[in-house]
Symmetry: C2
Subunit: 174 residues, 2 copies
DNA sequence: ACGATATACCTCGGACCCGATGTATAGGTA
DNA sequence: TACCTATACATCGGGTCCGAGGTATATCGT
């Protein structure tokens, strides 16, 4: 998820680590903060894998900046991660939102629609958080008000997203 | 999140690891699967910390079961984790849902309302995923249909949850 | 002159997580 | 007979993540 965000932001324009940190904080930080001690090693990983280039520039304010840019391999890797997301990227909303935030970088509309269709299939499966044996329970069947809340919220999300997915897939010519 | 689920399920009734695994899979597994090799070490951690007791029983079908039950310290720890959730438990929906799934174990209605109020405060803060400088952007201001989708879905979730939170806090006498 | 804050990067240890793999037993099925 | 699935537990290595702490420079307020 973090690596996808790094690749996604750098696809648009080269950035140094500190600026990257601020952009990632703006994107997902209010929900899932990312520590500096997570970001810098992640940058090193991607650099070591040949996906990033580093160019040292004199710092405009303080210490020298390491301006990062995607290599050709990095651009390909971003496309690969967007076109063939991990199952977790589909099911986990945090990761899914990160995919959506950068899906425009996949310039093929059919490939974009394919990714949306995978999320659609996931949401259309009958699933709950609470079961009676194998049968998924509905909000109305629960006594616990907090568990009822979980289902109420999840259902609202699911409805909004299903509507949006179907519209968007249609508008992509899928 | 995993540890909270273990403590939460065992609060109701003793269970062996394999059954615990199935319950956790039913609760959060469709969104965020938990591997066996994550569960068993987590059980050991909690046991080592004195929160769990283990009693070996002959297996009803196959290998002998290790039936796990909460110690008094384990019950206190669950209450503590529910009453004073980590900030991440409030902001991250996956973790928040786990808190909600077991919040009924906190028998004090005022404490329950306090936890809901923390989530309410988080949702009432003006936040987005995308910004123009410091100003959070609305869905309508975005050209990118995928990013617009993120905000559309997030807004639907937020609205449903705000309504539910306010109702539930009121009904708790908060 | 002093401290706080922002910029800009980094390391270390410990905790956590996962995939792969292993060890058994029992039941079904080809 | 052979294999697959389910039950039930566990370890190992590699990787990821975070909090705490460290190193500088520049700016601003007091």
């Amino acid at each position: 998820m973090l690596e996808l965000a790094i690749l996604g932001f750098l696809y648009d324009t080269p950035l140094h680590g500190y600026e990257l940190r601020k952009r990632i904080a703006a994107l997902t930080g209010h929900v899932k903060p990312v520590a500096e001690s997570t970001l810098y090693p992640a940058i090193k990983r991607l650099e070591k894998a040949g996906l990033l280039d580093r160019a040292t520039e004199p710092g405009s304010v303080a210490a020298p900046r390491h301006v990062l840019s995607l290599t050709e391999a990095g651009r390909r890797e971003l496309h690969r991660r967007l076109a063939e997301p991990d199952p977790r990227d589909i099911s986990d909303e945090n990761r899914w939102f990160t995919v959506l935030a950068f899906l425009r970088h996949l310039d093929d509309a059919a490939a974009q629609a394919g990714v949306l269709r995978r999320r659609l299939a996931f949401l259309e499966e009958p699933a709950s958080f609470f079961y009676d044996g194998d049968r998924p329970l509905r909000a109305e069947e629960l006594d616990d008000p907090f568990r009822r809340g979980v289902l109420t919220i999840a259902r609202a999300t699911s409805r909004a997203e299903l509507t949006w997915l179907r519209e968007t897939i249609a508008s992509l010519g899928g």
